[in-house]
């Protein structure tokens, strides 16, 4: 019972349960210094990488976003919020993303939960590893290839052709929001299944027996114990898929055919085609802000509902 919850976490200063300074009191100044140096050395490569390839570009994008488009395209120094004021010009892309990302993540969740539940709680022990491998194996082929395959399946010579053969004419599947949604669920399903599986697998089976013993029907046991305790996994999967979907480019391009436009598509267009960097930057910044809000909200909800002390999102 006293397992995970009581471990002091050196990486999480607020979460640790030991009074501040306990560590310092027990170690000499010298060892502490050496320990800090070691920590710094260990973190240096990752920090450097992130500064060069994440922080600096982000700062550049932030600066671009308050600038102006140079007459020949690109960036011209200025300070204006005109780009942000212009955001409604891409309202459709925002709208599509803001609707299809959560809807896609939710559809993914609906498909993934029963699979994860079966794998963690119902599947025979000796099949479990094989079944888990089957979930992951599609990842071995690039998403691009698999999405192309869907293009043919949904395209004129795919399912619609088969339907025409049995007399159902003029069915359009490709280049519809439905096709994008299908591609999303297909592509991101493993990312949703795995975290839910992990949280269900960790679930103490005796809690389910205790619930039944106390008079709870299987349904109320599921709602009151299983679902509640797997929520951290659900929220991890949901935010993971949701955030990736907010920046999704490939699936709407291939299966939406330019008709279902995502922010990702808008960004490609603005940076590479019309070369309006400041406007693209403003959109990118907005997208990042939205992602952060989504993450924080998901974390809060998950922590509140599951009663967990700390929730690891990714």
């Amino acid at each position: 019972m006293s397992g995970a919850g009581h471990k002091p976490d050196p990486g999480n200063a607020t979460g640790g349960q030991w009074p501040a300074g306990t560590e310092a009191a027990f170690s000499m100044r010298g060892t502490l210094l050496r320990k800090n140096l070691m920590t710094a050395l260990l973190l240096a490569p990752a920090t450097l990488w992130l500064v060069v390839f994440l922080v600096l570009p982000f700062v550049a994008i932030a600066i671009f976003s308050v600038g102006e488009r140079a007459p020949e395209g690109g960036y011209q120094a200025a300070f204006t919020l005109a780009q942000y004021a212009n955001l409604p010009a891409r309202a459709t892309a925002f709208w599509n993303t803001m609707v299809l990302a959560p809807v896609g993540a939710f559809a993914c969740l609906l498909v993934a939960y029963p699979v994860a539940y079966y794998l963690a709680l119902r599947a025979p022990e000796r099949w479990r590893l094989i079944l888990l491998a089957l979930v992951v194996i599609p990842f071995w082929t690039s998403l691009l290839m698999r999405t192309y395959a869907w293009m043919y399946v949904l395209g004129g010579r795919g399912i619609p052709a088969l339907l025409a053969y049995v007399g159902i004419e003029d069915v359009r599947l490709i280049n519809t929001p439905g096709a994008v949604l299908l591609g999303i669920v297909y592509g991101y399903l493993p990312l949703m299944i795995l975290p839910i599986y992990v949280s269900l697998e960790r679930l103490d089976r005796r809690l389910l027996e205790a619930s039944a013993d106390l008079g709870a029907t299987p349904l109320s046991t599921f709602l009151g114990v299983t679902l509640r305790l797997s929520l951290p996994g659900v929220m991890t999967g949901f935010s993971l898929v949701m955030i990736l979907l907010l920046g999704e480019y490939l699936i709407p391009t291939l299966l939406g055919g330019g008709k279902v436009f995502f922010i990702g598509n808008a960004l490609v267009d603005l940076f590479l085609q019309s070369r309006n960097w400041p406007f693209g930057s403003a959109i990118a910044i907005t997208l990042v802000l939205v992602s952060v809000v989504v993450l924080i909200a998901a974390n809060r909800i998950s922590a509140r509902l599951s009663g967990a002390r700390r929730v690891d999102l990714i």
Binding site: M1, A210, A212, D213, S220
Partner: protein, 378 residues
């Protein structure tokens, strides 16, 4: 017994594939009893408890609760509640919500006022008033144990099932909880069924002990009966400390039997099963029935190897030539001067009829002691 038993097993057998965990058990637990199912790991005691709770279904036979056959009745429709090993408290609920969990499942629904009132009473009963809003992980092991008790008892079950409830507590706390459980059982007056591998716990708490071995009930009786009149060698060995000696029957006279030991000495014992002359037997000698005296008297001669001083008593490991080491327990309230010292020769005497003679077991598997292993479910 005329009253309907609270729990009744009728020829219950439980098989897992080729393994038979419980075979042909008949048991009737009278109302308001404190029963202990005692046995080594793998003896089937936990399986029996889980069949009462409804987590396992018997392969053959019937389990009845207050006269009703429970076949096909799921756990959530049975009038029993269980205190789980390691307690199985809900980590996402606080103490009060854990206790109220069962009350919230009741149909027709109870008013929220009644729920909180009864949860409060249950908390007070286990002396945890004021702890209602604590998180489970903030409680000590002993407190969690009491929350588990309150969570089960608040539903007013016909029978309370306890699965090794004290195993996770330290020795001091365990003794306290033994008394607390005994008091609770008397206060509430419902039947408690306790599963344990700890013979001390079974003897000290319950008023009926059911000793199990190899999926069968070996003996059912009051604690003193189990200790003083063990049904067979397994019970004699498993319950309490004892010395086991082998010998052969040299003479028979009524209830008594003369047993010749390996070194040629003859001891008079009480037989616990029919025996015939020349038959190989095992003798059980409780350490406290051995009397120690100065060398020269008594039936066996030995040398003190170790002395374990225990305050009011002392235990001696005595080496007897040709027989081996014997454990003797002597009362030393009278004076500290007569403690024997290691290396000192002593004579060992036996109270008449105190040694018990059992036929030697047919196979070696029955008297193995493995009471310190953790019970593995299913």
């Amino acid at each position: 017994m005329t009253a309907v038993p609270d729990i009744e097993f009728r020829a219950v057998t439980k098989r897992y594939g080729a393994v038979t965990a419980v075979s042909g058990i008949d048991l009737a637990v009278p109302p308001s009893a404190f029963v202990a199912l005692l046995g080594p790991s793998g003896c089937g005691k936990t399986t029996c408890l889980r069949m009462i709770g409804g987590f396992e279904q018997p392969s053959e036979g019937q389990v009845l609760i207050r006269g009703r056959d429970m076949a096909g009745t799921p756990p959530y429709r049975r009038p029993v509640n269980m205190v789980f090993q390691q307690y199985a408290l809900f980590p996402h609920l606080d103490v009060e919500d854990n206790i109220a969990y069962g009350l919230r499942q009741a149909r027709p629904r109870l008013s929220s006022r009644e729920i909180s009132q009864r949860a409060g009473e249950a908390l007070a009963m286990v002396r945890l008033a004021g702890y209602g809003r604590r998180k489970i992980h903030e409680l000590s092991g002993g407190q969690q144990q009491r929350v588990a008790l309150a969570r089960a008892l608040v539903n007013k079950p016909a029978v309370l099932l306890l699965d090794e409830p004290l195993a996770a507590l330290d020795k001091k706390l365990r003794t306290d909880m033994q008394i607390e459980l005994q008091n609770l059982q008397r206060e509430i007056g419902i039947t408690f069924v306790l599963v344990t591998h700890d013979q001390e716990e079974a003897l000290s708490m319950s008023d009926l002990v059911c000793v199990m071995n190899g999926g069968r009930i070996v003996q059912l009786g009051q604690p003193n009966e189990i200790y003083d009149e063990p049904a067979d060698l397994f019970v004699a060995d498993f319950v309490g400390k004892t010395n086991l000696l082998s010998g052969t029957v040299a003479g028979l006279s009524g209830d008594l039997v003369d047993v010749a030991l390996a070194d040629g000495s003859v001891i008079s014992a009480r037989k616990r099963a029919p025996l015939s002359r020349g038959e190989a037997v095992s003798l059980s000698l409780r350490p406290e029935t051995l009397s120690l005296g100065a060398a020269g008297s008594g039936s066996l001669k030995g040398i003190v190897r170790n002395r374990i001083f225990l305050g009011s008593t002392a235990e001696y490991a005595i080496e007897v030539e040709g027989i081996g080491s014997l454990l003797a327990k002597a009362d030393h309230q009278i004076g500290r001067d007569n403690l024997f010292k290691p290396g000192e020769p002593v004579a060992i005497g036996f109270a008449a009829g105190a040694p018990l003679a059992f036929p030697q077991p047919k196979n070696n598997g029955t008297n193995q002691r493995e009471n310190h292993h953790v019970e593995i479910l299913s």
